[in-house]
Symmetry: C2
Subunit: 230 residues, 2 copies
């Protein structure tokens, strides 16, 4: 097929879409830059014009996914019937739904992502997701502080701290996925449930929300999620 | 000078010491693997036998520094006159002292470390420091929970969350260092002071400690620290 001249935006988008499909189908580790180049039908030079490395491409994929997820969750931030705590809960519920839905396609990438040797990669993706999420979360905390449903005198720093609280999940998730692979789904679900309980408590305390007001998880979520990764 | 056969431990230590000296003297970015090899008088093959990259070497330097700092602070963890909150405060005070003492030697590395483009490097170093610190912090939270001076039903997950709360400092520190370089030391100190206030509040809330019980900073610290980096 002859190569067609396309605008940089179109080209970048195509590369990201190709990469996302390949990362999901065969896993990040098993995908090479050459695979992406072949699939997208671009030259090596053109690829490296847009992305310095495979890692940079993954970052772009993560950022795109975060934008898409936020778009799906957008209605939330505009729902006048919810206060900020209600919005936070809806946000956690939405993110649980997305996780279970995407687990089957994500499983190869997931298993790779939470390995201790890939911690740098994990942080890189997290940074992309955080950058997209931070302004929305900051706005939510600002509103909540004003209406009095939560306490966050410094909304931006607090939003960043909330996002960073999640990071410990990588270690926990790695343990839970190993346990799942070893056939102990109940043990794995217990590990993940325990972490989420502590995380929910931390969110409540950090924002001075009454204990029990934040629903980080729901019965059966950890199990359903882990089952979907098998 | 002829090359002497040394045990792997001795060799590794020498390479780390050399690297630490060079990173401090000329900055991480300006130091090449070849500089380290020349300074330590080892072959390229021997170097790569011990370390896969310059980043891996920096990680080892960070881990070694964390071990040394913890050794200096060790007496703290064994002081029977302090409860866990007192120990946390002593820990923060000790780490402030180390930071001001080391700022002049660290300034090149520091300025490089907090640049947004080096966020991966920052996380790599943080992971090394966290790995060394986590067991001590977990033990401290366990003791505090037992004696009732703080509330941490899941000490390990909470310790990890406490460590992750700090991560936002990179962004803040970068801003403050830029402001300092631009000559606005007062503005820079205000940025850093603000972040530390929010961080201290987050630590108190997360551990259910009375507000004001944690002394993350003291008057003049941010200014003294930033001044030492100029």
């Amino acid at each position: 097929m002859p190569r067609v001249k396309k605008s940089p935006d179109v080209r970048t988008n195509e590369l990201i879409e190709c990469a996302q499909r390949l990362f999901f189908e065969q896993g990040y580790e098993n995908t090479t830059v050459n695979d992406v180049i072949r699939e997208a039908n671009v030259s090596k030079g053109a690829f490296y014009h847009y992305f310095v490395s495979k890692e940079a491409l993954l970052e772009a994929v993560a950022s795109r996914m975060a934008h898409q997820s936020l778009k799906e969750l957008q209605a939330l931030f505009e729902d006048p019937t919810l206060d900020a705590v209600g919005q936070l809960n809806a946000l956690f519920a939405g993110s649980r739904r997305l996780k279970v839905e995407m687990a089957p396609q994500l499983k190869n990438t997931f298993n790779a992502l939470f390995k201790p040797e890939n911690i740098v990669l994990y942080h890189r993706i997290d940074a992309a997701v955080s950058a997209v999420t931070l302004p929305y979360l900051t706005g939510l905390l600002e509103r909540g502080h004003k209406e009095g449903s939560l306490d966050a005198p410094d909304p931006e720093a607090t939003a960043l701290m909330l996002l960073n609280l999640r990071l410990g999940v990588a270690k926990t998730m790695h343990r839970a996925l190993q346990q799942t692979e070893a056939g102990d789904l109940d043990g794995a679900a217990r590990i993940l449930d325990g972490w989420m309980r502590t995380y929910g408590l931390a969110v409540e305390r950090l924002l001075k929300i009454p204990e029990g007001a934040i629903e980080i998880t729901e019965p059966g979520f950890a199990r359903a999620f882990l089952e979907a990764t098998v």
